[in-house]
Amino acid sequence: MEEKQFHEFSVGNLNVHFLPSTTYKTNTLLLHMRAPLEKETVTNRALLPFVLQSGTKEHPSRQEIRKALDDLYGATLNVDVSKKGEYHLMSFKMEVANEKYLADTNPLFEKGMELFASVLLSPKVENGEFDSTIMDGEKRTLKQKIASVYDDKMRYANKRLTEEMCEGEPFGLFVFGEEESISNVDGSSLYHYYQSAITNDNMDLYIIGDVQVDEMKKLVEKYFKGIQGENRSTDLLQVEQKQITSPKEIIEEQDVQQGKLHIGYRTNTTYEDDEYFALQVFNGIFGGFSHSKLFINVREKASLAYYAASRVESHKGLLIVMSGIESNKYEDTTKIINEQMEQMKSGNFTEDDLSQTKAVLKNQLLETMDVPRGFIELEYHNQLTTKKRQLSHWMEEIDKVTKEDIVQVAEKIQLDTVYFLKGKEETKDE
């Protein structure tokens, strides 16, 4: 297997990671702006990318920006906010068609990059304030977005579990910020925050495209020279590990057809640790796939659920189990899930389970590499920790994991919170 390597260079304090590639019919730009998750800034950060994509000096409205994107053969621009461990990320992504596949010789990629950079660096600002129409629109949208989390019961249960489990920890903050803080934000305070973020955030720009390295350097230098070079703190966050005395149980009632059971554990193992790969294999045997213990025992054997799965949060060190069940099957299901966890801790799985899970994990990694976004996400882990791991390293480390390693990792896993959203009795006949 050939190892694809990003070329690294910097422009001011922008870390650029460039991968020349002819595999795709589009070129991709993805910028992550990273800062610690904090109550004081979480709402500003949830709002800012959406305000920035709604008007630049040259294209002063959302409509004008979208027109400019359409003219670049439907280039896409998406912004988003997310959590990675206790970092809060603002992300900007653009994909633009490679002109090689078009009967058109316009330099689409360069024009796309120009537009991308202007969204970031020359927003529509007057008298030190973002435009008030844009602010009003985006504040309203954010409020609606927060309100509608309630409507998606899986997301709602996930949010509630995180709030309960990580109460008082930065990770307990909701990625879209706090509803009650939105009205305090205005065009002036947000612009002020913007200036601070653009100076202090860690910025990583990933580019995958059909361009030569030298040419790419020139382009990035030309369009991103506005990012000034203050020295940014590259200190990595230290995540506190909470001590659990006894697990929490939270049961909430709502008018729903299906109960949502979400269980949170502390893994006490993160990406930073050498045992991280054993944790990945653990999760694969326990609940990550359709051959895993949870799927087999909760779904296939007991017919209790359509989905029963687990996933790992790599940087905070959490393991989350999710399943949708009948409200009166709460005890039955938690009993089975607990049993499966105990089986893992006592090493009750076969060599076949182990090799099968390794094969699927390695396959998943290789498949991830076919998608520009997946490739970037794997690479971005390396920015968040002192560990610098390439794909080949992942593959080797997964292969090395033994049954004993998994049992050791399993023994460190602690149940923290069980959250159950259950249906009300009278909802039977509608």
């Binding site: 409509q63 053969y73 068609a97 078009l102 009967a103 409507d151 051959h291 699927v360 396959n363």
Partner: protein
């Protein structure tokens, strides 16, 4: 083996029809690690009324049976097919739509074994009374998961308001009541009728070598015996041209309301290039009316009637076709009225040629982006094939569309008086 090259796109497609009638397509994607394969039958949730293979009388089967069959096919005499795929480093899945059931895997290793497994498990049904009963609990939970999902309820609520008789209005998974009527025997009846190779397409895309891959599939199929291909007789009740109901409201346990507006095709009998042209025209028109670069979107957004969830789409197959516009809103009635008003205004004016050029470019760019995705290519190609269309004609047809084509499609499709329905989701109580 036939070979077609698409120079501008730099793609090569290999194709063969096997003696048993199976259509096989291969599309190598240099630079990709993974191989993605789909095995699809032209059989979906709408095919609930038909003459079983080697039979004379037509039968009506319980709602949700195509989807139920999809679940059950993963069970083999030796056990669970998921297990086998994962031992071979593959991830397998399946889905059922209105008109298709597709089985698939993706993998970066053991490709020959995985291809064999896919071909074999789909062609070897194994249903027992016991396993059929067991599946009911699982599917019941799947149905309940969707019942709590307001977007799903809104979408199916809208389809049910547009269609009076056509089975497209039935939930793909059926209802809790209907799935409990499904038996081992009814599953075999459906299987025997619709899983004949001549009713199926096998598509492989990604990391592959065409000659050896085709050889493998050819040999696998030659080793099995099938009945002679027969024409499948499917029945659909007559469907009125206009919509069944203008407006439907669903109260749910939500905080934010939703509004979807639908337009129903009057004569959904297009196939081949005619359907492709119609579909692309409607998609361009939707972009022109409601795309983010247009005035309407800007207005609705500034008025606080829509947010980022606002979207639109067109779906068309033989027998049904409709477009859908809408999203989250705290004022569903008002948004519905505004959308209808904007459509009325739009169709009275001539097509803005300049805007049309911009949107045409945008669609071409989107199509190129979609070609990065093996999943998109395999699934869309198969859907197009079942409707006598060709995925690789999308760009030429987009380039050939004239403002007259657009005007014709618009006047036929966007009729707010007779072809429009709305479905609103509102917070309960």
């Amino acid at each position: 083996m036939n070979k077609v090259t698409f120079d501008q796109l730099q793609e090569t497609l290999y194709h063969e029809v096997l003696p048993n009638g199976l259509q096989v397509y291969l599309l190598p994607k240099p630079g990709f690690n993974k191989t993605y394969a789909t095995f699809t039958t032209k059989y979906g949730s709408i095919d609930n009324h038909f003459v079983p293979l080697n039979d004379k009388e037509k039968v009506r089967v319980p709602d949700g049976i195509a989807h139920f069959l999809e679940h059950k096919l993963f069970e083999d005499e030796e056990g669970d097919v998921f297990q086998l795929f994962s031992k071979q480093g593959a991830s397998a899945n399946a889905f059922t739509s209105f008109t298709r059931t597709a089985y698939l895997f993706s993998s970066t290793m053991n490709i020959s074994e995985n291809l064999e497994t896919l071909l074999n498990f789909v062609q070897k049904p194994y249903f027992t009374e016991e396993s059929v009963e067991k599946e009911k609990g699982i599917i019941e939970q799947e149905i309940k998961m969707y019942e709590d999902n307001p977007d799903w309820r809104n979408y199916f609520g809208l389809i049910a308001s547009m269609y009076k008789n056509h089975p497209v209005k039935i939930d793909i998974a059926g209802t809790v009541d209907s799935i409990y009527k499904i038996t081992k025997d009814s599953l075999y009846t459906c299987y025997e009728t619709f899983y004949h190779p001549s009713n199926m397409v096998f598509f492989v895309v990604g990391n592959l070598e065409p000659d050896t891959t085709m050889e493998l599939i050819r040999n696998n199929q030659a080793g099995k015996t099938f009945e002679e291909p027969q024409e499948i007789k499917r029945y659909f009740q007559d469907e009125p041209e206009s919509v069944a109901e203008k407006i439907v409201t669903i109260p749910m346990n939500v905080h934010t309301g939703k509004c979807l507006v639908g337009f129903k095709d009057q004569k959904p009998d297009r196939q081949g290039e005619e359907l492709l042209k119609h579909e692309l025209s409607i998609q361009l028109l939707l972009e022109m009316m409601f795309g983010q670069s247009g005035e309407n979107y800007q207005k609705l957004y500034e008025e606080g009637l829509i947010d980022d969830s606002f979207s639109f789409d067109y779906s068309g197959e033989q027998g049904f076709g409709f477009s859908v516009v809408g999203g989250d809103t705290d004022r569903p009635e008002e948004l519905g009225k505004r959308i209808a008003g904007m459509v009325d205004d739009f169709i009275q004016k001539p097509i803005d040629e300049l805007q049309m050029e911009g949107i045409r470019k945008k669609k071409i760019g989107y199509f190129l982006r979609a070609l990065n995705s093996p999943e998109y290519i395999a699934n869309q190609f198969t859907r197009y094939r079942f409707n006598d269309m060709d995925l690789f004609q999308v760009i030429p047809v987009l380039e050939s569309l004239t403002s007259k084509d657009m005007t014709d499609a618009m006047k036929d499709h966007f009729l707010t008086n007779t072809q429009m329905s709305q479905c609103h989701v509102k917070p309960k109580g």
